[in-house]
């Protein structure tokens, strides 16, 4: 085994053997699985429905109102428990009664709610209601109530103008845009999740292992063993051995994570799916009691909707060019990691202790942070100029390209040029980093500055 092989082996073993590494191998997937499963689990958990007393102030006076069936509009659901007892009370009375005491919210539909009936422009002060609560009801509740009130208004005016029921039903339909890319239905959300997931993964790995390389360099420098080692091997060999050994430990950990995560997700999600079925049964039961007439169609519609969604999502997942995706992941991870790790090694060599690494490591990390913070902008327009540029600039391309690939539309030329630029930058950055490293590791008691680091690049061997 060559000397660089020895170094790789030592770096690999010294990482793999630590307790933290082993614990992380097991804990990582649990966290990972938790990240995927817990939100779904929590969202599916039953919770006490919000109790809302509906007080319709418009009921008393307005004559264009009788058609509205409050029981249908404000029907109980998993999230809401409506109480329609106080129809037609006065604003002041309600306010007084519920301002402080009620343990539930009160929706007060203002008396002139239907004022908007008279004018098409809707400029009159109608369509207003107030919600009194002791705690913040949240945006979802407000949006739901607004939607329902809008329905109340629509029903009322349809009724006033004697629009036939079937016309109303027809008018309720909403338009949808199916996203068909290259002949296949595509769900952007799924692509977004896949792209962002891989982008984040690369980002995390580069930071995590880059930092490990940096710490290891600082350790060798501060224990002074580095001088003994560079009397046997070239500093460049030591640096590359360290970077590669750390990468191998990282890749091994990644594989373990993937395996254990897969097992965990499979076990957990099957357990959760069982429970989910219980809830949907419960929900159907509840709906049945509320509106018995609509039962058949409604629940069928729900079922077919769920199946369609899942099928589309599955189709989208399958439509992602996984071969390219994984190949790109490996290539971008390796090249990106190698380039950043070299910079981290240079940073480690410039300081005497780990505490001093901050001032240099931040500028190294900033390009990555910027890329991640621009991820959502890139996902809004995956083939726009921002995304295109970010996926060519070597400091951001490992993350940016991974975000773009699931959406398709990345041309082979783009991919090749991006990888080529990254590979060349990796060589260039490593060359310069090695120059800093070789001087830095032997420079004790002298705190490097950026100016100093610049000088080190031009020292003769």
């Amino acid at each position: 085994m060559g000397k660089i092989g020895l170094i790789i082996q030592r770096e690999f073993m010294s990482r793999v053997r630590t307790r933290t590494y082993m614990v992380m191998c097991l804990l990582g997937p649990i966290l990972f699985a938790a990240l995927l499963v817990v939100p779904a689990f929590v969202a599916g958990m039953p919770k006490a429905p919000r109790k809302i007393i509906v007080v319709d102030g418009a009921m008393r006076s307005d004559k264009c109102y009788p058609a509205v069936n409050h029981a249908v509009v404000f029907k109980d659901s998993l999230n809401f428990d409506f109480d329609l007892r106080y129809l037609g009370e006065d604003h002041e009375v309600i306010e007084k009664r519920y301002r402080d005491s009620a343990d539930c919210s009160v929706l007060f539909i203002l008396p002139n709610f239907m004022g908007a009936c008279d004018t098409l422009e809707g400029s009159s002060p109608g369509l207003k209601a107030e919600l009194y609560s002791k705690d913040e009801p949240g945006a979802v509740t407000l949006a739901y109530l607004e939607r329902q009130l809008t329905n109340v208004y629509r029903q009322a005016i349809y009724e006033t103008d004697s629009v036939p029921m079937d016309v109303i039903e027809k008018a309720k339909k909403e338009a949808t845009v199916s996203n068909v890319v290259k002949g296949k239905v595509s769900k952007s959300e799924v692509k977004m999740m896949v792209g962002f997931g891989f982008g984040i993964l690369i980002y995390m790995y580069i930071l995590l292992f880059g930092n490990q390389v940096m710490r290891s360099v600082v350790e060798e420098k501060s224990t002074r063993i580095v001088e003994v080692i560079v009397s046997s091997v070239r500093p460049f060999q030591l640096m590359m051995g360290k970077i590669i050994g750390t990468a191998l430990a990282g890749i091994l950990q990644f594989l373990i994570w993937m395996l254990v995560s897969f097992a965990l997700v499979t076990v957990l999600s099957s357990a959760i799916n069982d429970k989910r079925t219980d809830y949907s049964e419960l929900m159907k039961a509840k709906m049945n009691t509320a509106i018995p007439i609509q039962d058949e169609g409604g629940s069928k519609m729900l079922d077919s909707f769920v199946t369609d969604e899942t099928q589309n999502a599955m189709e989208t997942i399958l439509s992602i060019p996984w071969g390219n995706m994984l190949l790109a992941f490996v290539l971008y991870f390796l090249l990106g990691y190698l380039m950043y790790a070299a910079m981290f090694a240079a940073v480690g060599s410039a300081v005497d202790s780990e505490a001093d690494t901050q001032q240099f490591s931040l500028p190294v990390t900033i390009p990555l942070i910027i890329t991640i913070s621009m991820a959502s902008a890139m996902m809004l327009d995956p083939n726009g100029s921002l995304a295109k540029w970010m996926s060519q600039i070597p400091f951001s391309s490992p993350v940016a390209m991974l975000i773009r690939i699931p959406y398709g539309g990345v041309s082979t030329m783009e991919l090749i040029s991006s990888l080529l630029i990254l590979a060349l930058s990796f060589l260039g950055v490593t060359y310069l980093a090695a120059k800093i490293y070789r001087v830095g590791i032997l420079m004790n008691g002298k705190k490097g500055s950026w100016k100093e680091l610049g000088k080190w690049m031009f020292y003769k061997d």
């Binding site: 000397k3 060798e220 224990t223 002074r224 063993i225 001088e227 003994v228 046997s232 020292y459």
Partner: protein, 330 residues
């Protein structure tokens, strides 16, 4: 006959020749046209005040850094990468991986120097036995005392039986017993043919161990040669005399032939150190004083390496330095 001649020639050959080596860093010159020769099979002392450029020179010989100009020859051939396996280096600032086990670490460092794993293991067990370190193999370095770590590091330095050993302050951190152990090992290694380059501020060990030295100051070599020759060449005509009689009697008798550097009276005996004038021989002195005092000891005083170091670095006469510290009151 021929074998004998060849042995003689090879004994005289230089293992390392440094030729006009200069090294500049951005703000200062670390080495300025330094040349020196290290004869094979000798112990060579590299001396000099702090910051003189010793470590830079050592790093150049170790190929950790390269010279700006000049060259280093290993057995008359230009120093190359493959030579690192024939060099063992113990830096002044020592360190090992703290979390790594002693045995593994020693194996790793030995393999980096080109030893096979089996061979390194075999030799390590030998050394561990000799240094009574049998139980250390599985210990982590951080569990060892500083002295123990130094021992491990020394073994790692010599394990691959390098032809050239470069030791920077090898005795620092050792108690006298372990320091002696290391000294004995160095002498044994030299006997077995190793060449040793010793950088130290401990002039006692230079006198004890070194055959040749070079003194570097402010990036330039200001003195080199064999220890014996250097001491001889720095001889200042100084002698120690012990006699029965009065000091006044002695100085009167010596008159202008010499200068009294130091004196001490003890139990009716006088001990004096005198420096003779250029044209005065020891015989002249003795002839002059014997009629007046009863001489029972007379020795020539060669300057110590300590004296020579201080005098040379301060650009003074050795004689002026000789007088600065008492030799009789220790």
């Amino acid at each position: 006959m021929l074998v004998g001649l060849l042995t003689f020639v090879s004994a005289m050959a230089n293992l390392i020749s440094v030729k006009n080596v200069s090294k500049r860093f951005s703000t200062h010159t670390a080495l300025d046209q330094v040349s020196l020769d290290i004869p094979e099979g000798s112990i060579f002392g590299l001396l000099g005040p702090n910051g003189a450029g010793k470590t830079t020179l050592i790093r150049i010989i170790n190929q950790i850094t390269g010279p700006d100009s000049g060259q280093v020859l290993f057995e008359d051939r230009l120093l190359e990468r493959q030579h690192v396996e024939q060099i063992g280096y113990l830096p002044e600032e020592r360190g090992l991986y703290k979390k790594m086990r002693v045995g593994e670490q020693a194996l790793y460092l030995a393999q980096l120097k080109g030893l096979s794993k089996q061979e390194a293991k075999r030799r390590l067990h030998e050394w561990f036995e000799r240094f009574e370190m049998g139980g250390w193999w599985k210990k982590k370095v951080e569990e060892l005392s500083k002295g123990m770590q130094q021992k491990v590091q020394f073994i790692v330095t010599v394990l691959h039986e390098p032809r050239l050993l470069i030791l920077d302050e090898p005795f620092s951190g050792f108690d006298p017993i372990n320091a002696q152990l290391i000294k004995d090992e160095l002498l044994r290694l030299r006997k077995n043919g190793a060449t040793i380059m010793l950088s130290t501020h401990n002039m006692g060990s230079v006198e004890e161990l070194c055959d040749n030295i070079a003194l570097i100051d402010k990036s330039q070599k200001i003195l080199d040669g064999s220890v014996a020759e250097i001491k001889r060449s720095h001889f200042t005509g100084t002698y120690d005399l012990s006699f029965k009689g009065t000091l006044i009697g002695f100085t009167n008798a010596m008159w202008t032939g010499g200068e009294l550097v130091e004196s001490k009276e003890e139990n009716g005996r006088c001990h004096v150190r005198v420096r003779l004038r250029d044209n005065v021989t020891p015989n002249h002195l003795l002839q002059a004083v014997i009629p007046h005092v009863e001489v029972y000891a007379f020795t020539e005083v060669l300057p110590t390496m300590n004296d020579i170091f201080i005098a040379t670095v301060q650009r003074k006469e050795v004689g002026t330095v000789l007088g600065t510290q008492s030799h009789f009151t220790e």
